[in-house]
């Protein structure tokens, strides 16, 4: 095929692509937005789901009274769940393990990875508090046998014990283990496991819907230009660049 024809064909393709992209004016789009019917009770449900999943038990209670929305889980279980989460966040891992077992012993029985991470967190807390001997004993008796069962556990154990090798732990290569974020990570893992054991979704629906909004806009971008919401926190419609 000659170069000339190639160019012609390419031009035709570009033209076709441009022609297929539909332009929706702001006026038209706003009309569509107005035609959408969002039920108040659905929004209330979404908010309740967020409060419940994120563990805002008092707010959920108040919201039930103020809006008449029923929570999708027994509110009493939130208090227990948050107590476990808080215990891990504050470094009281032993206490947290006890509380989880009070709630439902199956949670740790059926979830070796979670149990290992809690024990690992316990080891980290011992090291943080300078209890070197206790830490070593705990690592050898409780953690090492589990590491033998699972290579990834062993790697994590070795990484954690490495904390003992440094005088200035805060600036050592594995110092991130002592960071608050490590506690938060473990805490949210327990939190998710408890929610799952209560047959509840471990994440609230609202963030997923926000992601879905971004996804849907990106998908639609391929075929149409229309006013977008670029900043979720302002929910402002912005005219497209075309």
């Amino acid at each position: 095929m000659s170069l000339f024809w190639l160019v012609i064909r390419q031009l035709a393709e570009i033209e076709a692509m441009a022609a297929t992209k539909k332009v929706i004016t702001r006026e038209e789009w706003e009309k569509r937005l107005n035609d959408v019917r969002i039920r108040k009770e659905d929004m209330n449900k979404l908010v309740m789901n967020f409060l419940v999943t994120e563990g805002y038990v008092e707010a959920a209670e108040k919201f039930r009274m103020e809006s008449g929305t029923e929570p999708d889980i027994d509110l009493a279980t939130i208090t227990d769940r948050m107590a476990v989460k808080k215990a891990v966040q504050n470094g009281n891992v032993e206490d947290a393990i006890e509380k989880v077992n009070d709630l439902n012993p199956e949670i740790l029985d059926t979830n070796p990875q979670l149990f290992f991470h809690l024990q690992q967190q316990r080891l980290i807390e011992l090291i943080r508090n300078g209890k070197v001997e206790e830490a070593l004993e705990f690592a050898q008796e409780e953690l090492a046998p589990r590491g033998e069962e699972n290579q990834s556990f062993l790697d994590e154990l070795e990484r954690t014990v490495a904390l003992l090798a440094f005088e200035d732990v805060a600036n050592c290569p594995v110092g991130d283990l002592l960071d608050i974020s490590q506690r938060l990570k473990t805490a949210s893992e327990v939190n998710a496991a408890i929610l799952t054991s209560q047959s509840h979704e471990k994440d609230p629906k609202l963030p997923s819907l926000l992601k879905m909004l971004i996804w849907a806009q990106n998908q639609l971008d391929e075929k149409a230009s229309y006013p977008r919401i670029n900043d979720l926190s302002t929910a402002m419609l912005e005219d497209s660049a075309v």
Partner: protein, 467 residues
């Protein structure tokens, strides 16, 4: 009604009476729901799936179709490429779903095993193998190749023969055809054909016999599981997108502010400050707090009064705090408040008082088109011994009180001199985002020829718990 009253109402409507927005929300609520269901039913009706083979346009003479129109046998001796025994389903594959799928069972591979399964367009030449001609696609048993639009196949999967169960499907989300053999996915190819597509099978050598299953019997392939996986794939893609960490907190908080759920808000704020790490929303979010913090306590009080059915007191407070809202007795807001008062009287059984109240406050709305339906429904409450079970029972539900409370809430927000856009008193940030989401999904599907599953926010919200 006096002349001046009528004038003021008209002026009000010209000024875009914000209360009308909510009138729309409650007027014939139930009726709308019913309509919606009807539309859904119609949609399903329109999408009648294939149930049998089309014996009318099949390649006559080469094949025999059984009386149940579900199996086909090649009875001729094939001589060339234009005497294929092709047969389509009686209907095209439905498109308004995630996946369409059907299966064949090869009862007898005949002399050469030249069986094919696939999809063809309506105008397909009924003497050729699916895949050999334009606008057709087929997975062939004798060579395991996939044919798409011309006589040369591409490497695809295993061959198939007597005793095998082979399936063909359309994945509308991925815009792909896929094929299965004995319950396992063989592969998929992009679906580049437009318009209605007919499930199609072909036999092309003596004694070849094939049974087709359009879903009247359980499939060998686990379609439910496949669908679940496809949904999960899409979900994972969506979950990969990142959003700013505290944006959800901000949206929830602004929602509580917007609707005046002050007690919830206070608990929420106290709790989010004690979380580790604490969440400081105000600084990082772009939410214009001033707009929605306005008159928070008044809005909360009025919401509580209305939710408790205490309309008398609510009216009194409004007259005291925001006389401008209730000044015009013919506004949509006053109308909704009067209706609700009437409803509350019916609820507690004070029927005589309700009649008296209705005569004074509601009768004047009777011949105004925008208000008529709701007035009629309200008055109809009197006609039933058990109004809750009647067709107008929706008025006695909590959601009706909520609409009235939301109306008053919006009207108070609109008295804020710093409110930038009147839309902002009507819709919370959350609502604006959900509207955008819904509109995008609807538009995308419309541009895609209405293929795939319809977007339903409600279904997402009530979607099963992930265990």
């Amino acid at each position: 009604m006096s002349e001046s009253n009528g004038n003021s109402r008209r002026r009000n409507v010209e000024d875009q009476d914000l209360g009308l927005y909510f009138l729309e929300a409650c007027k014939g609520r139930e009726m709308k729901e019913r309509e919606k269901e009807k539309v859904k039913e119609e949609e399903e009706e329109e999408e009648e799936p294939p149930r049998e083979l089309n014996t009318i346009n099949s390649s006559g003479g080469f094949v025999v179709v059984s009386t149940d129109k579900l199996s086909v046998k090649y009875t001729n001796v094939n001589l060339h490429g234009h005497d294929v025994g092709v047969i389509q389903a009686n209907k095209p594959a439905p498109t308004k779903r995630l996946i369409y799928y059907f299966e064949i069972h090869v009862k007898d591979a005949g002399v050469k095993g030249q069986i094919a399964i696939g999809f063809t367009s309506e105008t397909f030449k009924m003497r050729r193998q699916p895949g050999w001609e334009a606008n057709s696609c087929g997975y062939h048993g004798d060579d395991g190749l996939l044919y798409r639009g011309h006589g040369k196949g591409e490497a695809f999967g295993p061959t198939y023969t007597s005793g095998d169960v082979v399936g063909a499907g359309i994945n509308y989300a991925a815009q792909e055809f896929f094929f299965t053999k004995n319950g396992q996915v063989v592969g998929s190819v992009s679906k580049d054909m437009k318009g209605p597509l007919f499930p199609t099978i072909a036999v092309h050598s003596q004694n070849e016999e094939v049974h087709v299953n359009f879903g009247q019997k359980p499939f060998t392939f686990d379609l439910k599981e496949f669908e679940a996986q496809e949904r999960m794939k899409q979900q994972l893609k969506i979950e990969e997108i990142s959003v700013p960490p505290n944006v959800s907190y901000g949206i929830v908080r602004s929602y509580l502010l917007h609707y005046g759920y002050e007690d919830t808000l206070n608990s929420f704020d106290v709790a989010s400050k004690s979380t580790v790490p604490p969440i400081y929303i105000a600084q990082e979010s772009g939410i214009d707090e001033q707009e929605i913090t306005y008159a928070l306590n008044h809005r909360k009080t009025l919401r509580q009064l209305i939710r408790k059915g205490n309309l008398d007191v609510a009216f009194g407070k409004l007259r005291e705090w925001y006389p401008q809202i209730v000044e015009d007795n013919t506004s949509a807001t006053c109308f909704l408040l009067h209706c609700q008062h009437f409803i509350e009287l019916v609820r507690v059984g004070a029927l005589e008082e309700a009649v008296r109240y209705g005569r004074i406050e509601l009768s004047s709305f009777y011949d105004l088109p925008v208000f008529k339906d709701l007035v009629q429904d309200c008055v109809a409450l009197l006609a039933y011994e058990r109004p809750l079970e009647s067709s107008v029972g929706y008025l006695l539900k909590d959601s009706q009180r909520e609409v009235v409370a939301d109306t008053v809430n919006a009207m108070i927000l609109s008295t804020n001199p710093n409110m930038k856009e009147s839309k902002h008193c009507l819709q919370s940030y959350l609502e604006r985002l959900l509207r955008q989401l819904t509109a995008c999904c609807l538009e995308r599907r419309a541009l895609n020829g209405e293929q795939g599953e319809a977007f339903q926010l409600q279904r997402l919200l009530s979607s099963s718990r992930r265990g």
